[in-house]
Symmetry: none
Subunit: 415 residues, 2 copies
């Protein structure tokens, strides 16, 4: 079977000049790889008609599928649409359905449709419209002598939704693609290199048609297994048995599989066991609560948070005993134990968790360096604490401490 | 003066398949933009000889300078060097100075030089070697009929050091480069298309050598002016006067210039005026506090937050009057006023802000749709509220409501 080839074409001066990083192309590469489409080239050109037209022609010679992002905004520097109309030699005309969609989009936000926005509903007559459910610029699908051109907005969340819900399914219909089966194994609480050493023996048992990739991300490591073959059932069986054989080796670090992030897995555990959660977070400053509440339906188990950022608020509002704070300081085991126990009692929840640390860059003392964080978990049976030594970077510390608390909940929940 | 044009060529399957994000290209764009070299295209190809040779030829037709990264490692899938030798039709030979450098590199790390590593010192005889002070693969500089090809390692810190210390200075010697000056104008509280209409007249006054770009991002729009000329002083003066002339038209939306995000600008305002802030956030679930505390030194003005996610916590912990909650509901103007006033009083701060809304996807009622958010600002002089109608997407609503609160602080702070 001949591989199906794709070229990714990004349009926009802002990427050429380095004002923004093109994260779309990487995301699209992964999404295409997952369905067995081979990306053979990525190209970025600026907002100039001749450059764009040349790029279309070059890509058409090389690839079966040309995926274009960017240049669909309502302003005059956005040229993708007129260039496509010119390239496919057909006129731009208001697309009634697209107009209805963009009108509705503005109406639902209580905003007026301007003439500029109306023009976003003008499409080349030779394309098929792709609905944009989360933005104003529709996508476009062109076919020409067996080649497919797809134009999508450059705004990442709009492009991703369009790719996942419309473009990938349509491409699957159009082409015969090899069977590729992925399995993501999600771990937390262990670094990439230590994990790699631990599972070295297991990795050596992988057959040639199954590849392993390590995808590390601040406090977590995802293992991605990619199996290529002709029978999905066969591949699924093989992957399932590999997952099983990994459990005795690294099971304690595995919190889930597939696409569910740690905060979702924790949320499911809490909901299934009918347990409620409250948070007292200091150095993480709201990020831990944000992770928890980013999950739809989190109000079923998450009751609330106190962020006692100032010393005074820790005492007067949360109620940490002044003598504990004075004797041990805000970043200490006795204080974190108080914080977790108090928030659990005050908010009347089954579980209380807490963070306190030196996120940096300021605030360090000789015995309390930047990156020192205390976390605690409390339920009616036990209070568990952990001392973390993280990095010198504020945002990394905030993220890693929050992930560590989620992991502590996972490990400490009553069985 | 004709602009000097560059094309960036990245070589490597790992980027094509999305295994790693290409951050080099963006860094190089910024570095080249700063010295007035115009990047006209970015291309990524895989580790295949025909693809690489075609990309060389295409780039040579378009650009004056072709900057190549990647494919210089010691393994057999690294093809950049043999391809360059073939393209420039000259043989590979051990370069004595390069061999001495790579030998020294290994010696200084107590490692033995393997035959594979020895081959890293083999260079096409028609190139000029560029020393790699932090790695084993030397860079290469080729000249052909006025065109420059530079090949550098793909390892980011090696490439950056080589660019900064060797390549950029050499390019500055070789070409007469224009002066480029940028100005970023940051706006909030107005959509891209409405802003574009508002400043259309101003935009038309821009001279030909100054270009405008819109960079929108959930709730904010950045305007980027790029001026090209021969005198930096002259360009700075022009940009400064353009900034001034924009103020009467759109000044109320402009919160800052350059690289400082909204949360930093708000933090500076609070610190300069010695004002303190507390937050009661419900639907934003911690994200607003996270934005505020992502700024180093925020503990100077930010005292703390209550996230009363559950109804019961709104009453018992925050202290919203039951009769208000019962009569108007949690997502209402009377409740949001209470929340902002109470948190300000309880946390004893100059300013209190609050959010309450339907983030979605659940929780909507016939008169309170997903995306409805109330926000409030309270100080000793006034309480200000805003009703927002945002999107159907939970994370977008969380982000946009948080940005709207920061903007409300900016607009409401005592003068």
């Amino acid at each position: 079977m001949r591989p199906i080839l794709a070229e990714l074409l990004t349009i926009g001066d802002e990427i050429l000049y380095g004002q923004i990083v093109d994260t779309n192309a990487q995301w699209m590469s992964v999404a295409l790889d997952e369905v067995g489409i081979k990306v053979i080239r990525k190209t970025t050109v600026g907002d100039q008609e001749p450059e764009i037209l040349t790029a279309f022609a070059e890509a058409e010679r090389r690839a079966d599928i040309i995926l274009i992002t960017g240049g669909l905004g309502p302003t005059s520097d956005d040229l993708t649409k007129p260039c496509l109309a010119k390239y496919f030699n057909c006129e731009l005309r208001i697309h009634e359905e697209a107009l209805a969609e963009v009108t509705e989009f503005f109406k639902s936000r209580g905003r007026e449709l301007t003439e500029r926005n109306r023009q976003q509903a003008a499409l080349p007559v030779c394309c098929t419209k792709i609905t944009n459910p989360v933005g104003t610029a529709p996508g476009m699908w062109f076919e020409k002598e067996g080649k497919i051109f797809v134009s999508m907005p450059g705004v990442p969340h709009e492009m991703k939704k369009m790719m996942t819900e419309r473009v990938i399914p349509k491409l699957r219909e159009q082409f015969t693609l090899p069977v590729i089966q992925h399995e993501i194994i999600r771990t937390v609480g262990i670094g990439e290199s230590i994990l790699a050493e631990k599972i070295e023996g297991w990795e050596k048992t992988l057959p040639g048609h199954i590849k392993l990739a390590y995808l590390p991300n601040l406090g977590e490591v995802k293992l991605r297994l990619t199996a290529i073959g002709s029978s999905r059932e066969e591949l699924k069986k093989e992957l399932s048995s590999l997952k099983q054989s990994l459990l005795p080796i690294a099971g304690e670090y595995i919190y889930g599989y597939g696409e569910e992030p740690l905060e979702k897995v924790i949320g499911n555990l809490l909901r299934d066991r009918k347990l409620t959660l409250s948070i007292a977070e200091s150095c993480t400053g709201g990020y831990l609560s944000h992770l928890v509440t980013s999950i739809p339906g989190s109000s079923e188990y998450f009751m609330g948070t106190m962020i006692p950022y100032a010393y005074d608020i820790k005492m007067r509002q949360l109620g940490v005993k002044p003598e504990v704070l004075e004797k041990y300081g805000a970043v200490s085991e006795p204080t974190i134990v108080e914080m977790a126990n108090i928030v659990r009692a005050k908010f009347n929840t089954d579980i209380g968790v807490a963070t306190s640390g030196i996120a940096g860059p300021g605030g360090a003392t000789p015995d309390k360096p930047v990156g020192l964080v205390w976390i605690a978990y409390s339920d009616k049976h036990q209070t568990v604490t952990r001392k973390l030594l993280l990095s010198k970077d504020r945002l990394i510390n905030i993220r890693m401490a929050s992930v560590a608390v989620l992991n502590l909940i996972r490990l400490s929940l009553p069985k």
